[in-house]
Amino acid sequence: MSIGVYHPLVQTILAAETEQSGVAKLGINLPSLVAQLLNFIILLVLLYLFAYKPILKMLDKRSEKIKESMDQAEKIKLQTAQSEEQIRSQLEASRKEGQALIAQASQMGDKLKEEARKEARQEAEALIVKARSEIQREMEDATDALRREFADLAIKAAEKVINQSLNKDSHRKLIDDVLSQAKTLKG
């Protein structure tokens, strides 16, 4: 088969093959190679300065920050738990204290009540004693007064009955008689 039956594209490639040697056909040449090497080095330096350095720094900074905040959150959580525990224990303590106070107060109230009752009873007893002695005294007074009045009455009655004054001796005798008789009234 001649070269003419192939597609024009294939013809081009075949023609090129006959014309040039392998490496030259691929296009390897030193100036281009050096240029591309330089291109890579330039890009490496530029990207290092403008991309990797700032971005890696930022990534490190961010991860550090995240770690820091997480540590802090952990610490805060711990603190919260601690203060909760503290509050709970405080509440418990004050509850106990309150109960103790209440107990003390009720005890004191009982004592006060008891004392008041005792005092009242004592006072009442004293009053009764006093009243009794008063009554006794008054009764004695009344008996005396009655006796005196009775004597006068008796004398007056006797005067009226006798209608005359007795002499002094007989008078005294009469009174004494009456009194001795009246003594029987006493009692």
Binding site: P8, A24, K25, A35, Q36, F40, L43, Y48, A51, M58
Partner: protein, 303 residues
């Protein structure tokens, strides 16, 4: 969509794409063999011209500046603008572009640190990330219109102003050399110069009079060869994949310019990120192996 299966907007869009696909197919290289519609001739894509070698656009002091070098510069400028704007006013709580860039960098950092450990990860990161971003942005920028379509005329000869740097073999080769150089550098600085070389010229056991040392020597030479072959495999993996993508574009546009090309764009986006990941991750893995040579040696002594 939920109401009756298909909203009028989607229906219209589908019909438009279908119509464009049909027209472009009929008007394309295959269809025009059967029906030649004069009216659409101006839309016909010209027969692609594939050249693996790049072409110099201008010279600076005798130094040829090829279209792929210009494309690499464009990638550098785009990346630089993106990162300078994104990191100009950094905030602890990121938003918008800063957030997006931080997401990319953090994802790469996690990948690198996950494979290489925290300490070595930070050492390797800048080079690995730059390889990834350079390859990825080279590939993605090449999908924008203008690449391969803006032409510079030099007499009768026309040249593309922009050509994806990934498809110029000098770029993958440069990247492979950088990758090789950094891997060796990290290996030597971590393990020590003679110890690192001892991995490749393993004559220690032979000198001690142990005939089994020949196996060590042979393994060492194999290691050395594989170390050097990496440069070639790195170069041709990236160059081959990206150039194949480019040629696929040319052919698809030539044969069927409108409908199917959308699918090829999706494919190329996937290829771009996959190649960027492969290049950077392989470099990372080789670096991890080079640094780990120390531990390997220790293990040998214990046996």
């Amino acid at each position: 969509m939920r109401k009756s299966g298909c909203s009028p907007i989607f229906l219209g869009l589908g019909i438009t794409i279908l119509a464009l696909a049909v027209i472009s197919f009929v008007n394309g290289a295959i269809g025009s063999k059967f029906v030649d519609v004069e009216a659409f001739k101006f839309l016909r894509v010209t027969q692609p011209h594939v050249s693996l070698a790049t072409e110099p656009i201008f010279h600076i002091a005798g130094f040829p500046i090829t279209n792929s070098i210009i494309a690499a510069w464009l990638t550098i400028v785009v990346l630089l603008i993106l990162f300078v704007i994104g990191t100009r006013k950094m905030k602890l709580v990121p938003r918008g572009l800063q957030n997006f860039l931080e997401f990319i960098i953090e994802a790469l950092l996690n990948l690198v640190e996950g494979l290489a450990g925290k300490k070595n990860g930070r050492r390797f990161f800048a080079v690995i990330a730059t390889i990834f971003l350079f390859v990825l942005f080279n590939a993605y920028l090449a999908l924008f219109p203008g690449f391969g379509t803006i032409l510079v005329f030099e007499g009768e000869h026309k040249k593309e102003l922009l050509r994806a740097a990934n498809t110029d073999i000098n770029f993958p080769l440069a990247l492979a050399l950088i990758s090789f150089a950094f891997v060796e550098y990290w290996g030597v600085t971590t393990v020590g110069f003679f110890r690192y070389l001892g991995k490749f010229f393993a004559v220690k056991r032979l000198f001690r009079g142990n005939p089994m040392g020949i196996i060590d020597m042979f393994v060492g030479i194999l290691e050395l060869v594989s170390e050097l072959v990496r440069i070639v495999s790195f170069t041709f993996r990236l160059f081959g994949n990206m150039t194949a993508g480019e040629i696929l574009f040319l052919i698809v546009f030539f044969l069927w310019s409108w409908g199917i090309a959308i699918a090829v764009y999706g494919l190329e986006m996937l290829v771009g990120i996959v190649q960027a990941l492969i290049f950077s991750l392989l470099t990372l893995i080789f670096a991890v192996l080079a640094v780990a040579a120390h531990g390997h040696e220790e293990e040998h002594k214990e046996h």
